[in-house]
Amino acid sequence: MLDILQRLGHKALSRLAAIGRAGQLLLQSLVAAPQPLTMLPLVLKQIYFVGVLSLVIIVVSGGFIGMVLGLQGYTILVDYGSEQAVGQMVALSLVRELAPVVAALLFAGRAGSALTAEIGLMKATEQLASLEMIGVDPLRRIIAPRLWAGFICMPILAIIFAVVGIWGGSLVAVDWLGIYEGSFWANMQQSVDFYDDVVNGIIKAVCFGIVVTWIAVFEGYDCIPTSEGISQATTRTVVYSSLAVLGLDFILTALMFGEL
């Protein structure tokens, strides 16, 4: 019994210590005297790796999810004779929930895991240590540009996801199932509010971007520098960031739409 308690306590303490280290990493890499001139090219390079290379998976998934939404919405709404409302349904579910959440999950799988593995390998091959010995802070040179790139890319990816999704929905509902185009778009325009829906969706995406990138970068930086350690860290990145995104989504939704 005492043994179990001891182990529980030990686990809790090491978790807490990890959270502390993660906070320290965020603080030291972002707050400490930014140098925009050296930073900018590094951030741009990372935006390419983290954002541009994630475009394919985001666009394809967004398109398909929008199409599925259009189809499912139509089959349900047609029973009530209100199939014109498909546009509204597709747009609201995408903008409010699916675009930020699914884009964040895909982002964690595509970019987050890559970030963790890359930084972990840099650690294992002593590249981080040798940066330190050259007199360059790896937190500023390696970590900070990746954090900024993730923060910037994730909301943009979510917006692209939503746009492509709505287009996919219209493809199915209007072009295939033959809903009148005018009512599809008019319904959407009427029901989607810029501040309540679009801005809230973007706020969600910003939060998810910060959380996913932070987890990914920290897991890589904090991993045990062996092949096994890196694989575990990569798994942890995907698991933790997925859970964090879903949990955080509930909290944010409750805060944003709870009073309705």
Partner: protein, 269 residues
């Protein structure tokens, strides 16, 4: 037993623990300026840890590490990075940046720490690469290099800023005989030509004895012997002999200078 020459690094009363295990226990080492000092000992005696302590990547529990009088563990983050600009370190794996060419790897310290114009950086990089014999490999990526070449590029990078101290972490491990010979010569030649202080951490006895001016032998967190290679050969201590003979250094037996085997066995204490 302190060496008489003036020292660039003075380690006093150093203690360092991993968990409950003492890696170093009250260790005193002084590194003479401009010489090649070797830190030797069996694997797992914290030789690499010692380099990390000197570089400020780890902090000791007790003791001082004085770089010309400044205590490295007490430095703040910024001062520590400034102190590191005076040190070059050759990592065991080379630790080249895999996303840059050989040229960019060597140019990296110059680009971040100096405001030199590009053509001057080019000249310096080519000079450093020439010194390690790899001027022709400047456009290769690290993945295209052999292990020995990668270590030579890393050496060129370590000396790019003309540091006062160059630290070598197991420079000979895993090298073929040719690459090994090249490295041994390079370390010696560079030390003489550039006048910096070299610290070599190694358990390759033969190669290290060939180039070291002064040797510290570590075991169980303590300095068990120190002196010039000749002095070390004369030390009559069970521990020192055991280290010299018990080392798994490949199938070829290496015989550290020792009295005749038979005589030694028959000798009475």
């Amino acid at each position: 037993m302190k060496p008489e020459h003036d020292s660039i690094i003075d380690i006093r009363g150093l203690s360092f623990f991993r968990g409950d295990r003492a890696i170093f226990d009250d260790v005193n080492i002084s590194i003479p300026r401009g010489k090649v000092t070797a830190i030797m000992g069996p694997s797992g005696t914290g030789k690499t840890t010692l380099l990390k302590l000197i570089g400020g990547q780890l902090r000791p529990e007790r003791g001082q590490i004085l770089l010309e009088g400044t205590d490295i563990p007490k430095l703040g983050r910024r001062e520590l990075f400034e102190a590191r600009e005076r040190m070059g370190m050759l990592f065991q794996s080379g630790a080249l940046f895999t996303d840059m060419t050989v040229f960019e790897n060597v140019a990296f310290p110059l680009r971040v720490h100096t405001a030199l114009p590009d053509d001057m950086i080019r000249d310096v990089v080519l000079m450093k690469l020439q010194a390690v014999g790899l001027r022709g490999a400047r456009d290769l990526m690290p993945s295209e290099l052999s292990g020995g070449m990668a270590r030579r590029v890393a050496l060129a990078r370590a000396i790019a800023l003309d540091p006062d101290i160059v630290m070598y972490d197991e420079p000979f491990t895993g090298q073929d005989p040719i690459a090994m010979g090249v490295l041994v010569n390079l370390i010696r030649r560079l030390n003489q030509a550039l006048g910096h202080t070299s610290i070599i951490v190694s358990h390759d006895i033969k190669e290290t004895l060939g180039i070291a001016d002064y040797i510290y032998l570590l075991s169980d967190g303590r300095v068990i012997a120190q002196g010039s290679p000749e002095e070390l050969a004369d030390i009559d201590s069970e521990q020192v002999r055991q280290f010299m003979q018990g080392l798994p250094d490949g199938p070829v037996p290496f015989h550290f200078k020792a009295p005749d085997y038979h005589q030694d066995l028959l000798q009475e204490h």
